[in-house]
Symmetry: C2
Subunit: 300 residues, 2 copies
């Protein structure tokens, strides 16, 4: 086996990043961590990670850098902003970027890093916080074969499924974008279905059970409707994430003048929820755009 990466940096310790970092520690990697919230870094230091004050400081210590932030702007900031990592990485170091971004952004980033003598894997992730914590998430990845070759044990530690979707950066982000199209439409559809059920006087718990076992089910229906039934809108993934992700989908399609009627409709529903003040709530709060129904109250 090709000699493997051992010193890994991770920037962004949110729900996904923290789980990935812990999976790397369990996998025996030397983990360097950085986050805008120092107290979160300290939690990880207690588990054996090494803290870095800035991306630049972290960059000098690692052979590969995972960036687990929420969007392209943050990815850019981490790499090229003040105290950014890119200029301080060793020649040939590998950048693995996991935010959901426009495919064109991933392409451009790959070109830019290559010109700096660095290597790049376009690697959006899916599966949620629980799977990240157990090292079982999915990665939709694109990059050069020799780059994947030295990251085999790294990906083994953090994911159950590594989909290699091509050699060109952007090919991972395209598939992730289309996954987000469906994820967003399915969350909004789950909300619409439950709203109509409440309006029609159905028992919402029975409706959830029947549909979960029928042809109308989706991964998102099964995962998000329990939040509605429990009246629990604490954000695991927020409404505003789908304002962004469906926005990426629609911007991409607009460039080639391609119609996406359901994505456009779902995007409007998330924007309506955000504009009404629910942008920071769990994405299942898109159900609050439906008037004339009484949602299940929070279980105390």
């Amino acid at each position: 086996m090709t000699e493997q990466i051992k010193r890994v940096g991770i920037i962004g310790l949110g729900a996904m990043g923290m789980g990935i970092a812990r999976s790397l520690l369990r996998g025996g990697f030397e983990v360097h961590a950085c986050d805008v919230r120092p107290e979160v870094v300290q939690q990880l230091v207690a588990d054996g990670a090494r803290a870095a004050a800035t991306p630049a400081e972290l960059a000098g210590q690692v052979e590969a850098l995972l960036i687990v932030v929420v969007n392209a702007a943050q990815t850019d900031q981490v790499l090229f902003g003040e105290h950014g990592a890119a200029a301080h990485l060793a020649p040939g170091a590998i950048v693995i970027a996991s935010a959901t971004v426009a495919p064109e952004y991933a392409e451009t980033l790959g070109t830019k890093l290559l010109a700096m003598g660095l290597r790049f894997i376009d690697a959006p992730i899916s599966g949620g916080a629980a799977k990240a914590a157990s090292g079982e998430m999915s990665v939709m990845a694109a990059g050069a074969p020799d780059t994947f070759a030295v990251c085999a044990t790294l990906f083994d530690a953090i994911c159950a499924k590594l989909y290699r979707l091509g050699e060109q950066p952007g090919q991972g982000s395209k598939v992730k974008m289309i996954n987000q199209l469906l994820a967003g439409v399915h969350i909004a559809a789950a909300a619409e279905a439950m709203a109509l059920g409440l309006r029609a006087g159905c028992d919402p718990d029975a409706l959830y059970e029947v549909i979960s076992n029928s042809a109308g089910s989706s991964w998102m229906f099964q995962n998000r409707v329990p939040h509605i039934l429990a009246g629990d809108y604490r954000p695991l993934s927020a409404v505003n994430i789908f304002v962004k992700d469906l926005g990426i989908v629609l911007d991409y399609a607009k460039k080639s003048v391609f119609p996406l009627p359901l994505s456009a409709t779902a995007h409007q529903m998330f924007m309506q929820a955000s504009a009404a003040g629910f942008g920071g709530e769990d994405d299942s709060a898109v159900v609050k755009v439906f008037p004339g129904i009484t949602l299940p109250a929070a279980k105390v």
Copy 2:
């Protein structure tokens, strides 16, 4: 155990009805069958069923009558049309109606049958032809407890899950209607996602595999996208079924002035496919509404 129904009539031997009839024969019931296509009835006679020339003729032979047709108009025809069954059923005989119909229709039908001295179970079905054949479909049912009590072995023979959703006819059809809302939106969303993937140059087989294992998946995505990948639009369930079913959903919501943005959009997509000449094709042919892409060719 309460004495059970033994002589069962079934009217409508399509993909679902034929499977249900065979499940009843396997379960040891005396099965009387009727369909507008006599040759289909003869297939079932070879397996032990008894043929009836008309619903009226069948009605005199049975304690319970399953109606497995596609809509309310056919249900009405079978019961109240020329040679209809209703007037010939024995007092207290049970009508079990399985078409997807408007909840108000099921309510009215229950009242009408009750006034004739008959009993009624509102019993839409879900699961597809394969599950009907193996006796493992789902039934979303509403009716009186004593009616269910004498049909216990009947439902055991034909379904894996009997959901009892209330005593009032219409309560089963409401839940089925909401399942169809999701089923229709999810088929149209699967088509939209695959269309964008093709436009973006993704490998469609890889896209299917990744999304089937990710948070963007749905029952319909997993079930219908293989038809698109194989270029096989022979109808298992046709585009026009969702023109009808999403029409029922939207009509229902319109009566109480309730907005359903995604259902309305998906309904337009199925109507566009139908108007373009694909109404009789498999519902996955809704993908043909997307211009500017080359769909996978039929595998010969």
